[in-house]
Amino acid sequence: MFSLLGVPSQVLFGQLLLGLINGSFYALLSLGLAVIFGMLNVVNMAHGALYMVGAFVAWLLLTYAGVGYWGALVLAPIAVGLVGLVLERTMLRRLYKVDHLYGLLLTFGLALIFEGAFRHQYGVSGQPYPIPDLLKGGQNLGFMFLPNYRGWVIVASLVVCFGTWFAIERTKLGAYLRAATENPTLVQAFGINVPVMVSLTYGFGVALAGLAGVLAAPIYQVSPLMGSNLIIIVFAVVVIGGMGSIMGAIVTGLGLGLLEGLTKVFYPEASNIVVFVIMAIVLLIKPAGLFGRER
């Protein structure tokens, strides 16, 4: 047992672990936002609400259908992705030709509807979601105690993040996607069905949010408000990282989560606002964001 600046190592590493977990969620959500923004030029304000829907789908599956965590881990993102497909096909699609701000306003309205509906149905208090049997317990790492489930969340989100990065930057499909982001008309002229690709991109982006929701369910309680506070921090993360790069979104998300954890150890009062302060500083020094480019 040692201590750093009067802080015992257990507390320090405990908070860093929490920070890393928060950071994983920031990374997953800002990744989805960046993918959607790149293709649709829409800031998806409904992202936080769909993250909440993902967690609720998992909870509903468990409560009413007896489907456990592992089933939910597959089914909930698919369900959220399908919701996304429907939203894109019926509503968002009509707004591509007008100012991008309308996409933001539409998804904001959708976020209010989702949140309001779940709140009306299930109230504001959270519903507990049990940790799956396989991941109960924890490891003693010598300097700290690591609950298995938290370790799993970090590993799983890292795998998903880097998998997405690989799919977009290193595969043929990803190359189409990047090309369509640059110049949709030209790509369509080459015989690629861009409208379908746009729909699938939105579906995939929100499915990532749904997946984050399932991962979060056993850690935080499943509550209708879990998405709205998170999403604003994710917006700040996106402004800091810049939406230009996938890797930027991942690295910024994890880094800011860690920084938030550190702040909780040394100056807890500021932990809620540290991300916003960093955002202000980054805007002063490098307005395009750490990994971004002016557009």
Binding site: L104, L105, I113, G116, F276
Partner: protein
């Protein structure tokens, strides 16, 4: 949207004759519209509940201030609740804890909102479009957390039982009608400032920036300064509205600094018509009426508000007044 959109109808709708007049067309039209509005607003407290009307007026001023940015400079701020709610705390604190008179409290609220607007503006105008919206949203969330944690705001309780006091040491604001006419005067003053701004050379430059910023830059305008000034002006008036609301309801609470409040003012402006002078007033009146009506039913308010958002964005992006103006025959001007 063109520069011809300055036609207006009084909120109460005092007949078709004044509705068809354009500001450019005749100064008497403006005078008629203003007189009609004042007549309706002046008599309204004898028909409707004054507290309800004061709420409408506070939100109408808030929405008009917001509209100055989105409608005339093309900047979507998603953080205006920070000015509205932040100023409400300042007004409530100075009046209740420091014993300031209401006019000084409102002045302090406006000045603090202007300062906050300067800080937000300096940061946010470094980015454009949707980034601007996200930055203002994030900064206002910071104000929310400050309001939650700072000791003087009393966290979840807010500042309660704020005395209304004597305006200029003469008028007793605890009388509902005195309070109402004070709020009306504040609204008319704020609206006049916005009207003057929109119809000044400064307002024309703002519209030029909204339509085509690179072109405005190439014409030699330092667009950042124009945008910043518009932002500060909008924030100050939003602060004035928030401070007034705190005095009227004798309460400053967390509700007014949440991002939902920022969204609500966007909705009021969108519903009434962005870039029209009277649109936000109509939008604010409708939303406040709807909310007080819904409060008596079991329907969840956010769902209804969200549906209106979706319908507005998909079906009538010009808003109520905007659609009316678009359907009216154009008069030479």
């Amino acid at each position: 949207m063109t520069a011809h959109t300055s036609a207006k109808t009084p909120a109460g709708g005092s007949g078709r004759s004044s509705a068809a007049l354009t500001v450019r067309g005749s100064a008497t039209g403006t005078a008629l519209a203003a007189a009609g509005f004042l007549l309706v607003a002046g008599l309204a407290p004898y028909v409707l509940y004054p507290v309800f009307l004061m709420k409408v007026l506070c939100f109408a001023l808030f929405a008009c201030a917001f509209n100055l940015l989105i409608g005339y400079a093309g900047l979507l701020s998603f953080g205006h609740a920070a000015f509205f709610g932040g100023a409400a705390y300042i007004a409530a604190h100075t009046v209740k804890e420091w014993g300031w008179s209401p006019e000084l409290g409102l002045l302090a609220a406006t000045v603090v909102a202007a300062g906050l607007g300067l800080v937000f503006g300096l940061l946010a105008i470094r980015r454009q479009g949707i980034y601007f919206a996200m930055i203002t949203l994030a900064l206002s969330q910071m104000v929310f957390f400050l309001a939650l944690q700072l000791p003087f705001t009393h966290g979840e309780d807010g500042i309660q039982a704020v005395p209304r006091g004597l305006l200029f040491g003469l008028f007793d604001l605890s009388q509902p009608l005195t309070m109402y006419y004070t709020v009306l005067a504040i609204f008319v003053g704020g609206f006049a400032i916005i009207w003057r701004t929109v119809h000044s050379p400064f307002g024309q430059v703002l519209k030029a920036i909204r339509e085509n910023e690179p072109r405005a830059v190439s014409l030699g305008y330092r667009t950042e300064r124009y945008k910043l000034l518009a932002f500060v002006l909008s924030a100050s008036l939003a602060g004035l509205a928030g401070g007034t609301k705190a005095i009227v309801f004798q309460l400053a609470s967390l509700t007014d600094v949440t991002w939902q409040m920022s969204g609500e003012v966007v909705l009021m402006t969108l519903l009434g018509g962005m870039g029209t002078l009277f649109g936000p007033v109509v939008g604010a009146a409708l939303v406040v009426t709807l909310e007080s009506y819904l409060a008596a039913t079991s329907l969840p308010v956010p769902v209804v508000i969200g549906c209106i958002f979706v319908v507005c964005v998909l079906l009538f992006r010009r808003g109520i007044i905007g659609e009316l103006l678009a359907r009216m025959p154009k008069r030479g001007g």
